[in-house]
Amino acid sequence: MWLTRPLQERSTQVFLGVLFAALIAVTALHLLMPQDSALYVSAYTVTLLGKYLCYALLAVAVDLVWGYLGILSLGHGAFFALGGYAMGMYLMRQIGDRGVYGDPVLPDFMVFLNWQALPWYWHGFDMAWFAFLMVLLAPGLLALVFGFLAFRSRVTGVYLSIITQALTFALMLAFFRNEMGFGGNNGLTDFKDILGFDLRTDATRLGLFLATGIALAIGYVICRAIVVSKLGRLSVACRDAEARARFLGYRVERVQLFVFVVSAMLAGVAGALYVPQVGIINPSEFSPLFSIEIVVWVALGGRATLYGAVIGALLVNYAKTVFTGVLPDAWLFALGGLFVLVTVFLPRGIAGVLQRRRAAAGPREATA
């Protein structure tokens, strides 16, 4: 099976090994260590790690299109946010009559802005299967339509980047509008439970964390499977010489569309897992600056390696957590400085350093 092909690869094995080891270690330390132990991992940390893993999955999705297909999407936050909104709508409906106004159907923000009935696009989100399907479909469809138009017209390079940015920007403005029925700027929040599990319990948190870890693993394997397949090589071919690939008989726009849609869906899943863990989804996830930041994680970790994207996402977000606590006034200097230094001194990102190490250690292995 093409999907299991990456499992035979050493790099994937290492990646999955490290990931699962980390998941197990965190779980064990959280469940087994006494609270006052230095090794105890608090629910706070578990959720934080869960959030990082969501970002990591998002970064992997971006790396797939950017690294291998050469499409610099400055709008991937849109797919992430759409997945997040799909999940958020499900979680909102789960609140039921436990909202402040006790309306059994309408979410609170609709009640106080005088909505009389649930808008049509909110229907179905009370059912988990439907909502989870939408987590994939909403971003997937958007990517399909947008990608179809763009790739068909052969929009490439910065032009494509900028219209992805326009896309997410337009969505941000649209979602800001209260009339859209997604809670405007306040977004969706105050969730109570998911699939019947109380979101405020540590067990649910741990469960979400583990689910995210597994989603990352699956997402990684899917991306890897694409990358090592002939389609992956074709993607690289399209990235470097689109026209040439056409003359070989490949429909470049379909390759682009396929990979783009897969990537958008992965981003949607990341968003869906993100929302219950951070407890809010609001239009700022659509902000172009957020999308740019995702690209920065990938570049920092090392483009076109996938695991580099994971490293980049984890590192930047960990740095952000640390710096915003330790250097509240100066963390932007640290973060900005980090970006600058890494780009200038580590041209191929952190993964580049690792590769060079490996190449130095055993040059034969690298080519195998």
């Binding site: 093409w2 694409i226 397949s229 002939k230 389609l231 090589r233 074709l234 690289v236 071919a237 990235r239 470097d240 010489a241 026209a243 040439r244 690939a245 056409r246 003359f247 070989l248 008989g249 490949y250 429909r251 470049v252 379909r254 390759v255 396929f258 080519t367």
Partner: protein, 274 residues
């Protein structure tokens, strides 16, 4: 003659309406047929009422001054450039002007570019793998498996183009001449019905030229080949029919000797001593 062709032409329009695309139909004549093709760029007529017919299995050389429109003609055949007027048929069934580049490529038209273009980030091997004639749709490509048979074919071609030693190096590091060879290799992998070869021997040594000549003449017969080249020695060694383009239309056509002695050709192209 042309009237005749036009008639046959007409009645094939109906066949073209048949839903299922069928392979190239050469029962009724040429494999490639260009009629009254013109194209201009910002008012400059690069191709001017060009008529050209290539028979199935033919090896045709096309020469002509720089800027005569040879590459542009290939661009038109492969769908890269749309002509302003005229028609281009592949066999009797396929109107190439209605098709996109990948469609044309899938029909079996392969091309080597004047300026070698290969996938620089991929290895030499992978370049050939992608060129290989297989199902080129998305899902088959995703699930494609590298069989021993495929591998053998690629290795054969690698040996033929002399790049076996650089099999796993990225194509980007190849020297100019090596890229030329790789492009020829990719063309071979494609197994096209019609090969369009734009300046294959530029930058090759005499011996390499000989090898290329053998290769191309060997192909002719089952496959049709159109070669554009400025090296007269090379052209002479392979040519049966030579077409001379000038200012976007045919200036002369015939055997190498006929053409080489044509005063117009000497004036605009060959110069005194060739």
């Amino acid at each position: 003659m042309s009237f005749f062709e036009e008639l046959t032409h007409r009645d094939r329009v109906f066949e073209f309406l048949a839903p299922a695309p069928s392979p190239v139909d050469v029962r009724h004549g040429p494999i490639l047929y260009l009629e009254d093709v013109s194209v201009s760029f910002d008012g400059f007529k690069a191709i001017n009422n060009l008529n050209l017919t290539i028979d199935d299995g033919e090896l045709r050389c096309i020469i002509g001054p720089n800027g005569a429109g040879k590459t542009t003609m290939m661009d038109i055949i492969t769908g890269k450039t749309r002509p302003d007027t005229g028609s281009v048929w592949f066999g009797s069934r396929h109107n190439l002007l209605a098709l996109s580049e990948p469609d044309i490529a899938s029909l079996g038209i392969g091309r080597k570019f004047q300026k070698p273009t290969v996938f620089e980030a991929l290895t030499v091997f992978e370049n050939l793998e992608l060129a290989m004639a297989t199902d080129k749709r998305i899902l088959p490509t995703l699930t494609a498996v590298m069989t021993a048979e495929y591998r053998e074919r690629i290795d054969e071609v690698l040996a033929l183009i002399g790049l076996t030693g650089l099999r796993d190096r990225p194509a980007g590091i190849l020297s100019h001449g090596q890229k030329q060879w790789l492009e020829i290799g990719m063309l071979l992998m494609q197994k096209p019905r019609l090969l369009l070869v734009d300046e294959p021997v530029a930058g090759m040594t005499e011996q390499e030229m000989e090898r290329t000549a053998e290769l191309l003449t060997g192909l002719a017969g089952q496959q049709s080949v159109v070669v554009v080249e400025h090296d007269m020695g090379f052209v002479r060694s392979i040519a049966r029919t030579v077409t001379v383009l000038h200012q976007g239309s045919v200036l002369a056509e015939g055997s190498m000797d006929e053409v080489a002695n044509d005063p117009d050709v000497i004036r605009v192209y060959l110069g005194e001593e060739a």
